[in-house]
């Protein structure tokens, strides 16, 4: 189980994947908006998205777990 964490404080702009979806390493799974910039968050590993903890317009802090991937 790999946790995808927020790289910085910001607002969730898009969630690009759904639970159960297969993702590849390096795929942009979530886009945050922070300080008027779009910050892409990538999956570090390939696998299946097992849970998504956030939805669009949620505010997240650095290191918050956004979603989990089972390799």
């Amino acid at each position: 189980m790999t946790q995808v964490k927020s790289t910085m404080a910001g607002t969730v702009f898009t969630v690009n994947v759904a639970e159960g979806e297969e993702v590849t390493a390096g795929q942009v799974v979530i886009v945050l908006e922070s300080m008027k910039m779009e910050i892409p968050v990538e999956a570090e590993v390939a696998g299946k998205v097992t849970s998504i903890n956030v939805q669009v317009s949620d505010f997240v802090n650095e290191e918050d777990v956004l979603l989990t991937i089972e390799a």
């Binding site: 790289t7 910085m8 702009f13 300080m35 008027k36 910050i39």
Partner: protein, 453 residues
Amino acid sequence: MDKILVANRGEIALRIIRTCQRLGIGTVAVYSEADSDMPFVKEADEAFLLGPAQVQQSYLQADVIIDIALQNGVDAIHPGYGLLSENAEFVRKVQQAGIAFIGPDADTIDQMGDKIGSRVTMQAAGVPVVPGTDEGIASLDEAVQAAQDIGYPVMLKASAGGGGIGMVRCEDEQALGQHFQSVKSRAKAYFGDDVVFLEKFIADARHIEVQVFGDHAGNVVHLFERNCSVQRRNQKVIEESPSPHLPQEAKDRLYQAAVDAAKAVAYKNAGTVEFIVDNNNDIYFLEMNTRLQVEHPVTEQVTGYDLVEWQIEVAKGNELPVKSQAAITSTGHAIEFRIYAEDPVKFMPSPGAITKLDWGDTTGVRIDSGYVEGGKVTPFYDPLISKVIVHAPTRSEAIERSKAFLSQVGVVGLKTNIPFFDKFLASEDFLAGDYSTAVLATWFEKQKGETIK
């Protein structure tokens, strides 16, 4: 005009408040919960809390801001830049409340905010525009067809977009296919309008803009140009005036086109006409910004005028403080550096507390800062901490002074892009001055493997 409400935050709010103080005009600040300790809140005569940190719940609360103005005897509202500054609906509401808006008319903002519409208006006025589509593009098929006619690379842009958001450069049909829907949906999300269009991407171009000013009597003047070519993600980091290596003949064409553009829409107050200049010095209208810009101090330093004071005069219904173009002159060379809370290598935002902020010796340097030591840069707003503007008799002297100044600034607590400036100012690309908007990308390629400390 006895009292002005500043509907903004940070360095621009403070900068407007200082001009009001000098002119003996009272000031009202509005702020979010995240900004209660900011210098602009403390320095205003009165200050009112708008709401939580998020801009939708604070700085974009148009009705709350107008209510505060009405209840506190405010004569005019200055919107700064960003936030509500180019929101025509806000302008109409302010004026309906019997309060002056310090900026252009709502109709002009609408007209220029629609990038497709402004292209058409400018063509009709004889101002050259970048080759592109003069209508919105509904489908990918249409986009592919139009891009073939225009020729790759193309810029795919949101008609309502701005500030570098909602535009993507596409090298070929595959890239266009990949980005078409996402630019449309981003345009919808950010600007509430998903109309997109295409423009030819002009390689090795310089981004040069002309400051213009108009009044209710129909006077229009320009205050020379700013070179805005050092950009990352289509957002500017360094601006300078005058533009290095641009022949006087090309400058004269830019000034004429900018004044023609402003006259075509009976422009009132401060505005900026943005152009792309290619390596043949051919000029193309890009867009008009209907507000005071982040980089306006560069123009203030070379012309000696206070543009906020001019804005207030025009908003009062007075004619321009200087109506004769010949009387407006530019002296020396000015460079503005935007000090951002960001990683100096990847340019990623780095919010945090500023535990130490020591500018050192500020002789001959103008600092427009939104923050002081002990302040906190939160993730809710843009990462701009301060602007540093250096003015000297020549460009090389301005660069030398900038290097000496920036190298002795001490910031602790968060990352800033000052180390980037320290390195970039020594680069031949910048020193030569003959650089395009690609200068940073090119420079980064050369830097690979090196560390910026």
